[in-house]
Amino acid sequence: MLDQPNQERETYEELWEARRAFEEESKLLAKVFNDPGIFDLEVKKIFAKSWAFLAHESEIPNPGDYVVRRIVNDSFIVSRDEHGEIHVLFNMCRHRGMQVCRSDVGNASHFRCPYHGWTYKNTGKLNGVPFNKEIFGPGGINKEEWGLTPAPKSGIYEGMIFACMDPQAPSLEDYIGEAGWYLDFLLKKSPAGMEVVGAPQRWVLPADWKLSSENFFGDGYHTQSTHMSTISTGIMRVKKVSYLKDGVQIRAGIHGGGFMAFKPGTYLNYPRSIVESMLDNLNSDQVGLIEEHSILPLNFTIFPNLSFLNSSLVAEQGGRSVPFLSMRLWQPIGPGKMEIWSWCLVEKDAPEEFKKASSKAYLSTFGTSGTFEQDDAENWRNVTKVAAGEMAGRHYLNYRMGLDHVRPLPDSEWPGPGTAYPKMYVDFAQRLFWSTYFDHLLK
């Protein structure tokens, strides 16, 4: 009976072999996109270990403001206390486990648990316990000990609030690492910083989170086919379908992204005030890329599942391109299933009409109803569907683009950290994603 089945052992051995095949032969086992056993491992080995984005500071601007966010299945309250300090609190009562806060957003100095009425300050401190002395004895309960549990780790990077469930994890700064230099382009076009427009769009997509993450790591190649309709209808104003071919692909630590060229002087049609503050606010190396090479980051992804998109697109028949920045979280909710959270961000000090136009450009092209997002999602949900069977356990995908003939830019030609490749139609960033993925899963 030695040959008796053991699904977990099989999954594990398959993953070891899949990693070898990827590292040695640059081919990826399709099964990773839809397998319950692998999903369970991802939750434990990746999402319980990595820094996860929760909210942007501008979503809770005032004392008492809070939002409730998730890491996979874990609910956290992200609150701003009366002193303006931000707290990330596991949203489960310490008494009998009731979900303390059941709304997505609001303003409260205290949270009252409905079950037995315990109240907590928005700092998490246990504040009130009905009949405390009568139930716990003369001394009452030790309120210091029984406050809401803070996230094992939390931190803020450029207004972005993150948490991590692994107490041993590196600091947020170290985690972002070299990616920071590139995020600057997205988040520091103005010294005033960014703000979220309204609230995130949220929707459910029956697709694996890794498909969207790797796409936003570096899949410039898909635009000439997946997004053909946006080119032919002038939503994306470009001369040729291969407009992204000659971008730059980036590997920075365990994160990755890409640069796209813009028509010199146009700066994606950003308003003059933003262009000025951008050139002013970024360092000389960064400005060098903009001014001398007319390129700006188009896409960037912080491992595992937080992506950025900074593009300039047309929302109105015959209108002009308007730039926007979208931040999206590919929140897994089950094998082959995710809940997408997509935010639109604008510079706090941008002109009001620009903010409106920018968010309109965003929602027309990305997000729930976006003309780009629709076709991306169509790919991702169908890859996921066809990866569910037996054949996917033997089917290997091709990750060799650029491998044999594209070389990284020498440091002399690239001022930024990490590694830059003078093409966008390559797999270097995606390969980084998968190497990192296997490292985590099989650690």
Partner: protein, 169 residues
């Protein structure tokens, strides 16, 4: 509803039935003809909020925030042969009920509320999506024809439960 005549109700009913039919049959171009040039078509994002804090609709972010021009651009895209997300197309069914007609703010307008249950299936797996919403419309009579001047789609969901909004409500 009694604020308006049965006759008006009947005209509005006919208008909404025809509109739903055009959508369910994929005639997006003709659907656009039902709109005024200054149409406002929007579906605000919704969040779950405490009872005291209102219905949770977000002022500044929407799933749709459309003008005639942006709707036309969306339809043009759907008409290309590259609109992969809708080829094979969704099979939709707009169940329009609870139509309530009231006088509009303008002389030649009526304001119309209706409940919409949208059934959607795509491809051949047994899964389907349901979207539930109230629609608040303003219709204006333009040279003898009713046109849609404004539509607000108020979803009964905080999280949109379909893979995209490549379909119209």
């Amino acid at each position: 509803m009694l604020e308006t005549s049965v006759a008006t109700y009947w005209e509005i009913y006919s208008f909404l039935m025809r509109e739903a039919e055009l959508l369910d049959e994929g005639h997006h171009r003709e659907w656009l003809d039902l709109f005024t040039d200054d149409v406002v078509y929007r579906m605000p994002v919704r969040q779950t909020r405490e009872k005291g804090a209102g219905d949770g609709f977000v002022k500044d972010m929407s799933h749709f925030e459309e003008t005639r021009g942006s709707l036309e651009l969306r339809v043009s895209r759907l008409e290309t042969e590259y609109a992969w997300a809708e080829d094979p197309p969704s099979r939709t069914r707009h169940f329009v009920t609870n139509i309530r007609v009231a006088p509009g703010e303008e002389e030649d307008e009526v304001s119309v509320k209706s409940n919409l249950l949208l059934y959607r299936s795509q491809g051949s797996d047994p899964h389907y999506d349901l979207l539930s919403a109230e629609r608040r419309d303003v219709l204006r009579r333009e040279d003898g024809q009713w046109k849609l001047r404004r539509r607000e789609i108020l979803l009964d969901h905080a999280v949109v439960t379909t893979h995209n909004l490549a379909v119209f409500l």
